[in-house]
Symmetry: C3
Subunit: 170 residues, 3 copies
């Protein structure tokens, strides 16, 4: 199975950034991605719904449970998948997830930020498979994100540069 | 207009790191940048004046206003521009801002870190123009930076590798 | 002297990830590294002992001294050196430390995170020498890491791609 087939199989509702643009654009002078050679650098992706609603605003260890944080991380990843499609035309152009940096808004001493970040990295594994979809990972508990968001992920990927996908990138 | 012409036009006072070295050198075993192929990795840049003064030390949502944070972010970016010149000889060697990771020291629940980070990314856009100067962006609210600094930015850029600029790099 | 010779000379006890795997594997869907061309992206490395013990759990400026934080940062770097060996076979395959991003769990207003991070970057300099081993650096004071860890480092390196080392990578 390809990544696009798995995404369909999982019933994922990946936004179409050609219709509802990357939400980061509202936050400042920013674009959703850059590609240099076979490395695709995605901008930070948030658990924001296409209508601009902040999903599970709040703080882990205070107003949010690990399950809510996990769901937010999964939504941020869903938005990142939309960013990948926008950048290279298809999830099938991904050769490898290089890594993710995951930021979790939490109280001091909250011990479970890694369980929250798995909402993102589990989805990457499920969509791309263990070989391609499991990359390096860093998870950091922080003080705040824009507009009360509880999670942000920054993905870097290796993508195919030739043939079908090579012409569709910046 | 080129980036160097825009920098002159904006009246930017970009430090010369050959005269007043990159301030990070005081903080540990660190260099201002590395370049691998066409990717220039800048070290973290702070809102520090050439004489070592910490500009707008403090915490957003507590002792500093958004306007002060914005000014600090702009100064950090000015220092990063000096880092670019040191690395590749001229701002005109920049082919694209790949992205910035911006750290803002703030109180919990401070909702406006993105407005602070725009002090950095607005300046990148103004110097390099929208095509080259607007890249990916991540902004994170954190607990502390060295010596009470309120902001740090980490830039990654695509730079020209051949001809005039190709010989001036590490 | 080569980096491997210096590591021996310093008496470093670098874990063997073929025997005691990269500890990050317990935290989620993650691998220790990816390599794309001559860039080696290491996953986040923690000050965790091979038996899974969290070394110097706690918070700088509260329960931990700068010296304890420094020792934790050094241990995280030691684990990263194990990650480098796993990825490219030998420390001698490293052409340059591109940079490190260092996260320090601390109280608000703690002024000395850079002194903590030097536990990592001093060791890189001592093992690889000043030319190769000193790269860009970013140090950020944060709220929490997984399981009470006080420090995490994320390293990016330039590595040799041809000859002896070229065949040993993913």
């Amino acid at each position: 199975m390809t990544a696009e087939e798995r995404a369909t199989d999982l019933g994922l509702e990946i936004p179409d950034f050609a219709v509802t643009p990357y939400t980061g654009l509202k936050y400042g002078a920013v674009r959703s991605h850059r590609r240099v050679g076979e490395v695709l650098y995605l901008s930070g992706h948030l658990p924001e719904l296409p209508d601009g609603t902040v999903f599970h605003a709040g703080t882990l260890g205070e107003s949010l449970t690990v399950e809510e944080g996990y769901a937010a991380a999964r939504l941020a990843c869903l938005n990142a998948l939309a960013g990948i499609r926008l950048a290279v035309g298809s999830l099938d152009a991904v050769a490898a997830v290089i890594g993710s940096v995951n930021f979790v808004v939490c109280r001091p001493s909250f011990p479970d930020i890694h369980l929250v970040a798995s909402g993102c990295t589990d989805l990457l594994r499920d969509v791309f498979g263990s070989e391609i979809g499991v990359g390096g990972r860093t998870t950091v508990g922080i003080t705040a994100l824009a507009r009360g968001h509880c999670f942000e992920t920054v993905l870097t990927l290796q993508v195919a540069t030739g043939g079908l996908w090579g012409d569709q990138t910046l």
